[in-house]
């Protein structure tokens, strides 16, 4: 599902509310028919969120960052981390401190999280902003694989998603804009 | 019970009800304050040790006892804010903080005024004064936090957490300060309890003053809360109506 909307229309807020990072909302959020507040742990175990701030520590290396991220959910071994980093194009950058990497590369570090996580629901806030053309292709591929494997994804972006599956669009402006 | 509780949470209901109470509270406070102050200042016999100085007790004790009640009150209001997200509770928590600060400050000031003739100094690191001073700092912290956070919602919750943590700390502070102080300088440990077995002409005006100052506290809390209600609900229909009516 793609969330659209002009700047300030509340895309980020919506995603943060769904994750439970923001509690100023009214109504219920259901996950598999049950309110998330009643099954917080189950929901969080199934969720992977990447926000504007990508959650990559700038002093640590990509490998160390991923090791920690994984341990918060499901620990994985180093081989999988290396494979994930290679997949997002960071081979040979595994042990470089993240502050020496570009913004796009840091974004890729956070995207590598998608590969090592068993989460079924991905919530990605503007994941394409700093990526180059290849990065965008790669992420679209990742999304397609994830959906094909039975997962779901909630993505905010202004760009037209090029994925080989049905994309539901939610426009927060209420009017359909040409993409 | 639940209905009553949710009704209490409605700022509008609270505003209207408190509006009906206020005249009675004013009257009761004025009467008690008049009686209490006249009695305490003019008719209470001089203390055989402290002379006229004892009269400051009739201000100091009520003020101090209220300032001690403010922190728990703020913490309870904070807990209600966190658990039930009741807006009125946060308004009370917000309004009680500056009042608590004021009363704590007054207790410190009257304590100093009392201390000067008794101990020969405006300030002594006496257990009560010291723990009062720390409580003063705690209030300052809560108020500073409230004003530092822009979003009212986040400020409400953050202050609630701090108030609860502070309220847990207040007895610890009190206990540790007393423990520290009695070992340091037991001489200055001037005890307030000594007034208890005194004859009625000493403690009856004290009780009257305590009730009067409590009323003063309740009134200032109500007035502040009513202001807060109007400010926060200024966009709602009933406040607009209220303003329209008052301008006619």
């Amino acid at each position: 599902m793609q969330v659209l909307g002009s700047n300030g229309s509340g895309k980020t807020t919506l995603l943060r509310i769904i994750c439970g990072l923001n509690d100023s909302y009214e109504g219920d959020i259901l996950w598999r028919g049950i309110p998330v507040t009643a099954q917080r742990e189950t929901f969080l175990a199934a969720l992977l969120y990447i926000g504007h701030r990508v959650g990559v520590n700038r002093i640590l290396t990509p490998r160390e960052n991923l090791r920690w991220s994984a341990s918060l959910h499901t620990p994985v071994d180093d081989l999988r981390i290396e494979a994930a980093l290679a997949r997002v194009g960071l081979k040979a950058f595994e042990d470089v401190p993240c502050r020496n990497l570009s913004a796009g590369q840091n974004q890729r570090v956070s995207l590598a999280r998608l590969l090592i996580s068993p989460a079924t629901l991905w919530i990605l806030d503007e994941p394409f902003t700093t990526l180059d053309v290849y990065g965008v292709r790669e992420l679209e591929l990742l999304l397609a694989e994830h959906i094909a494997g039975g997962g779901s994804a909630l993505v905010t972006t202004h760009h037209r998603l090029n994925v080989p599956c049905a994309v539901e669009r939610l426009n927060l402006d209420g009017v359909e804009q040409p993409l | 019970m639940w209905l009553w509780f949710s009704k209490l949470g409605s700022p509008r209901w609270f505003y209207e009800l408190s509006g009906k109470w206020l005249p009675w509270l004013y009257a009761a406070m004025a009467l008690l304050l008049l009686v209490g102050l006249t009695w305490a200042l003019l008719f209470v016999p001089e203390d055989y040790q402290q002379g006229h100085t004892i009269r400051i007790m009739y201000v100091h004790v009520p003020v101090a006892s209220i300032s001690l009640a403010c922190f728990p009150l703020m913490a309870i209001a904070g807990a209600i804010t966190l658990v039930w997200k009741m807006k009125l509770a946060d308004m009370v928590a917000k309004c009680v903080a500056p009042i608590g600060l004021w009363f704590t400050g007054l207790a410190l000031a009257t304590g100093a005024i009392w201390g000067e003739p008794i101990w020969g100094t405006w300030w002594a690191w006496d257990a009560r004064l010291t723990s009062m001073l720390i409580q003063f700092f705690l209030f300052v912290g809560v108020i500073a936090l409230r004003s530092a956070i822009e979003s009212p919602d986040a400020a409400a919750k953050a202050c609630a957490v701090l108030a609860i943590v502070g309220a847990i700390n207040v007895p610890i502070i009190k206990y540790s300060v007393e423990w520290w102080n009695t070992l340091h300088q037991p001489a200055s440990n001037f005890s307030m309890e000594s007034t208890a077995p005194n004859p009625p002409e000493i403690w009856v005006p004290l009780v009257i003053m305590i009730v009067a100052v409590y009323l003063l506290f309740v009134i200032s809390l109500l007035l502040r809360t009513r202001n807060e209600i109007l400010t926060r609900e200024r966009r709602s229909q009933w406040v607009t109506d209220l303003i329209a009516r008052s301008q006619v």
């Binding site: 439970g20 990072l21 923001n22 509690d23 100023s24 742990e41 189950t42 969080l44 175990a45 199934a46 969720l47 969120y49 701030r53 990508v54 959650g55 990559v56 520590n57 700038r58 002093i59 640590l60 160390e64 090791r67 920690w68 991220s69 341990s71 918060l72 959910h73 499901t74 620990p75 401190p97 068993p118 079924t120 | 966190l82 720390i134 700092f137 705690l138 300052v140 912290g141 500073a144 936090l145 530092a148 956070i149 986040a154 919750k157 953050a158 957490v161 701090l162 609860i164 943590v165 502070g166 847990i168 700390n169 610890i172 502070i173 206990y175 540790s176 300060v177 423990w179 520290w180 070992l183």
Partner: protein
């Protein structure tokens, strides 16, 4: 859910990983690591300069000086506790972990203590010597700091968690946290002074221990709640 590891194992895993991560970050910034210790050293130095170099006078205030300096050093190092994580988004990841936040916060607090509290404890005998603290009080000083400084980290964490989202924080952190830490200072410094006078200090340690127990059980809870509010 396809993969659901037993929760106990991974809670411990997340705890250890968070602890290790924070220590790793600290050791990669060695200069920052030295700052609290240097600050501690400098503050202690101020007292002989400001009060008097007279050994008798210094002996009398030594316990208090070391304790106050430890308190200030702990306060100053607090800022790093959640700041970087808040700015780079790691804090959101922490909050969205299915593991209980209590233990993750506790791990961060323990890391903070190991970085800023423990060095102060280790260094304290040297400063005690420079301030002419009587020899029989050394162990009491070290032990009270050992029990007391974790309480400072735990209470401090609440204050940082409450203020981490603020643009300009200035001194608000100190205003919030310092009053909360006063009981620890009172008892810690008093224990050392009492030992100097040959008084028994068993009850002092019991009180400090009780404070540590209360802080361990309540403070991470309050910090966790405060972090949720700040990230909101």
């Amino acid at each position: 859910m396809s993969i659901a590891p037993s929760p106990e194992v991974s809670t411990w895993g997340a705890f250890v990983a968070t602890l290790r991560r924070d220590l790793l970050v600290a050791f990669k910034r060695r200069n920052d690591l030295l700052n609290p210790i240097m600050f501690f050293l400098i503050v202690v130095t101020l007292f002989p300069l400001g009060v008097s170099p007279d050994p008798l006078e210094l002996t009398r205030i030594s316990a208090g000086v070391v304790w106050v300096s430890a308190l200030l050093a702990s306060m100053l190092s607090l800022d790093n506790l959640y700041r970087a994580d808040y700015e780079d988004g790691s804090l959101e990841q922490l909050l969205l972990s299915p593991q209980p936040l209590f233990f993750l916060v506790l791990a961060k607090n323990i890391a903070h203590w190991l970085i800023s509290g423990l060095p102060v404890v280790v260094l304290s005998p040297l400063l005690a010597y420079m301030l002419y603290l009587p020899e029989e009080a050394y162990w009491t000083l070290v032990l009270t700091l050992l029990i007391g400084t974790p309480v400072l980290s735990l209470f401090g964490s609440i204050g940082v968690a409450l203020t981490v989202g603020l643009g300009s924080r200035g001194l608000i952190l100190a205003v919030i946290v310092l009053p909360l830490t006063m009981p620890v200072l009172i008892i810690g410094a008093k224990a050392v002074t009492d030992v100097m006078f040959g008084l028994p200090v068993g009850s002092h340690f019991a009180l400090l221990g009780a404070m540590l127990a209360v802080a361990l059980s309540i403070a991470p809870l309050a910090s966790a709640a405060a972090l949720r509010i700040s990230v909101n």
